[in-house]
Every structure is written in C-alpha cells, then in structure tokens.
C-alpha cells in the first residue's frame, strides 16, 4: 500500500514512503509543504490550478499519483523565482494586474512558463488557446493574456 519514492522538487530531493493512492499534488502540498500549488476542482482535472512542471513540461498534478513522479523532476510556482528575483513572467503578471484573488495564478504561471518555452513568439489567439486548461473566475483573462504577451516580448 506504501512505496518509497524520490522526487526532486525545485532542486530539492524528497525521499519518502507514501501511500500509492496519494496524488502528486498532495505530495507537493502536504509532504513537501509547498502550498503555492493549488487545488480547486479536485477530481476532474479541469481547473488547472494544480499545474506544475514534470521534467519541464506543464502537467496537472491532481491527475497523477505521487508514485508516478518517482525519479522525476518537478518545478512548482515556488521554483520560478531565482534568488528571490521574480521571473519575467511573474513580473509581467504583477505589472498588468493579471490576478485578482490569485487562486488560479500559480497554475497559470506554470502553464504559461512552459508554453513560452515551446512558443516564444505567440499570437494572441495562440495565448488564449494555451489557456484553455486554466480557469480564472476573476479577471476575464484579458490582463493575463496581456501579461503573457508582454513576457514573450521582454524575454526576447
């Protein structure tokens, strides 16, 4: 019922015996104590709030078991800033007021950060399409799209 796993999160190695049924998002929040990764829909995998990077790719950490991440590298929103300095994307979110309540923000940042690596010069339509998997109920998305657009410009 339990299995010992090793997961590297934001460069730090965590080795722990966990129930096989434990979701990756619960490992991140409860075992590693990194509560920047959020849980909203809890079951369907439709809200995107729990998005993290698995070996550099955006995935929903509620649609995986922690044991499936054994031996893998995870990055969470806490891992975006370098030496306390916010990333270009995070700064753009700040500048454009791309969050109100902030609940969805960490998932959107993680999705957008990988999206911009795959597509560094996106059109607005591509940005909007990339956000399909993240629900935001405050902003109406307009400022989020603006922030991502500006981050793409600044990074180049």
């Amino acid at each position: 019922m339990n299995k010992t796993i090793s997961i590297t999160i934001n460069g730090e190695a965590y080795q722990q015996s966990v129930p096989i049924r434990m979701l990756l998002v619960d490992f991140i929040r409860d075992v590693a104590g990194l509560t920047g990764t959020h849980v909203a829909c809890t079951f369907e995998g439709v809200c995107g709030a729990c998005t993290v990077h698995l070996d550099g790719e955006a995935v929903k950490s509620c649609l995986m078991l922690a044991v499936q991440a054994d031996g893998h590298r995870i990055t969470t929103v806490e891992g975006l800033a370098v030496d306390g300095e916010l990333s270009i994307l995070q700064k753009a979110f700040n500048d454009h007021h791309a969050l109100q309540c902030g609940f969805c923000t960490s998932g959107i940042l993680m999705n957008a950060a990988e999206f911009l690596k795959v597509n560094p010069r996106p059109t607005e339509a591509e940005i909007r399409s990339a956000l399909v998997g993240n629900l935001c109920r405050c902003t109406g998305y307009a400022h989020i799209v603006d922030a991502i657009k500006e981050a793409a410009g600044r990074a180049g």
Partner: protein, 297 residues
C-alpha cells in the same frame, strides 16, 4: 478527492515486463495506466478501483511515430503533443493532427496518449472515430506472446468497451500506406473551446486524376452506440467532385440521416444529426482540399 487504496504499483521498462506484471494478477485486479488523463478521473471518482496499477510511462518501445512507405506506426504510448506536432501525418492522415491538437488542453496533451484513449474508448473522445475514419488497425500482444492485429472499427465497441482481452496489451496503431491523392480531416463540436466532443466526425478521401472521389471513409464519434462508420455517407461520396459542394452536402445529410443517435443533456437527437451533417460537410471539404494539395505536390 482520494482514490480508493491501491495495493501495488509497478512501472515496467519493457512490454515483456508489463505483460509479466499483468499475468501475475488475478483477472480484473490489475489495470494499465498510460497518460492517466481519463483513468485518474475514473480512479478518483471510484468508477474503477484497481488493486494493482501497471504504469507504462517507462516502456520506450511503446512510444513514437515511425512513418515509412508501407504505412505509419504510432506506438500506443505516443502522446497527443507528439501527434499534434507530427508533420509526416499531413495530407492523408492529417485528421490525427486535427484531433490530437484539440484534445482537452495543453497540460492534458502533454500526458495523454493515443493508446490510452483507444483502450478507454470514452463516448466523448476524438481518437476512436479518427482511427476508424482513417482505416487504422491496432496491434495487441497477450501474456502468452500471441500477437494479433485487428481493424480499429472491430477493436472499438460501445462506450468504455473494446475487444482487448484481459491478458492483452495494446502495442501500436498502424495506418496503411497512404495512397496518392488522399487527404483526411477531423472536427468536433463541444460546449466550450476544445471541450469533449458532443459530436466528432472524421473523413478520409482519395481522389482520382479527374478530381473525383475514388474512395471515402467517414466516421462519427459521440454516439451512445460507440464510434461508428457511416457507410451510407461513404457511398454517397463515391464519384463526387472535390468542388461539388452540393453533392458533398447531400452526402453529409445522408450520413446524418442514417446514423443512429441518442438524445442527452448536451444535444437532442435532431440537433445531434444537424451537428453530424455540418461537421461532415466541413471535414469532407477539408479532406478533399488536402488530397488535391497532395496531388499538386
């Protein structure tokens, strides 16, 4: 939401190890997990409660697309992300790119696989009708080492049902060598952008020197009976010229009229038929255009 307790988890590195793990379990107690984008929902909602999970993520031989003159082979663990970006599918098998690039969202496409989708055969899924429409076959291997190949349309049965036996693993989806002047397309309609399809339609056409349809395949998804070919629609496309919008519309109407549809909370029966007709018209026109582009090249 937590899954019910799971007793064992194994992550084999080869197909042989995966089948050995499967063979060591009593029937129905073990479940393969591919990308897990549907299965984890089913496990969390306790629609299924496997005692053992066999995770296929490390089985390298199940991943990747190889395109050769004899056809295209897509490993069962190939992700939507890879299929969506595979330019060698353009033309004859471009419907797969259409379908894969709009499954769920980009996080789902980073994990979800073609084999997982086919083995789950959810009612509202894009891969099942697309594979039927393209005339794909599936390769299965059992715990005794017996391999079999069968057409996707025989493999895929009613929703959540397939012809896969308890002791088999899906190895790959195989597409036949693409005939010259052939094209395909897939399109779905859902309640919101990139939503699960209420209806999805895949068309494949091959045209002759005269620009007329020599061979057509048309498949519909989102049906309570499971994904189905529309043979009436295919017959109505025979000999139709690529530019003949009226004949294409008539064939699309035939496909809709002859398909048995259900009414549910997303669409009543007549609306579902209107969707089939509209989508069929679009995908057949796109498939013709792609077949013609290949002729010019």
């Amino acid at each position: 939401m937590y899954p019910a307790p799971i007793e064992n988890y194994v992550a084999p590195a080869t197909v042989q190890e995966a089948l050995k793990a499967l063979g060591g379990q009593a029937a129905g107690e073990a479940h393969f997990i591919a990308g897990g984008q549907s299965l984890m929902q089913a496990i969390k909602s306790r629609l299924i409660s496997p005692r053992t999970l066999i995770d296929l993520q490390h089985v390298a031989e199940l991943k990747g697309i190889s395109a050769e003159a004899g056809g295209v082979r897509i490993g069962a663990m190939t992700r939507y992300r890879s299929i969506a970006g595979e330019e060698r599918l353009n033309g004859a098998y471009e419907a797969l790119r259409d379908a894969a690039s709009h499954v769920g969202d980009r996080q789902v496409r980073n994990r979800g696989t073609i084999g997982g989708s086919l083995c789950w055969n959810y009612l509202a899924a894009c891969m099942p009708p697309t594979c039927i429409g393209l005339g794909a076959s599936v390769e299965l291997l059992d715990t005794k080492g017996e391999k079999r190949t069968l057409p996707a349309e025989e493999f895929l049965r009613g929703p959540l049902e397939t012809a896969r036996k308890e002791n088999e693993i899906l190895l790959a989806v195989v597409l036949p060598g693409a005939p010259a002047r052939s094209g395909s397309a897939y399109k779905k309609w859902g309640l919101v952008t990139d939503a699960l399809p209420v209806v999805g339609v895949c068309a494949f056409v091959q045209i002759g020197d005269d620009g007329r349809c020599r061979r057509a395949r048309l498949a519909v998804g989102g049906l309570a009976t499971g994904p189905r070919r529309s043979k009436a629609g295919e017959e109505a496309l025979a000999g139709v010229a690529a530019k003949d919008a009226e004949a294409i519309a008539a064939a699309a109407d035939r496909a809709a009229a002859s398909t048995e549809v259900q009414a549910d909370m997303w669409a009543d029966a007549s609306y579902r038929k209107a969707l089939i007709s509209t989508l069929a018209r679009e995908v057949v026109s796109t498939a013709f255009a792609r077949a013609q582009a290949r002729r010019a090249a």
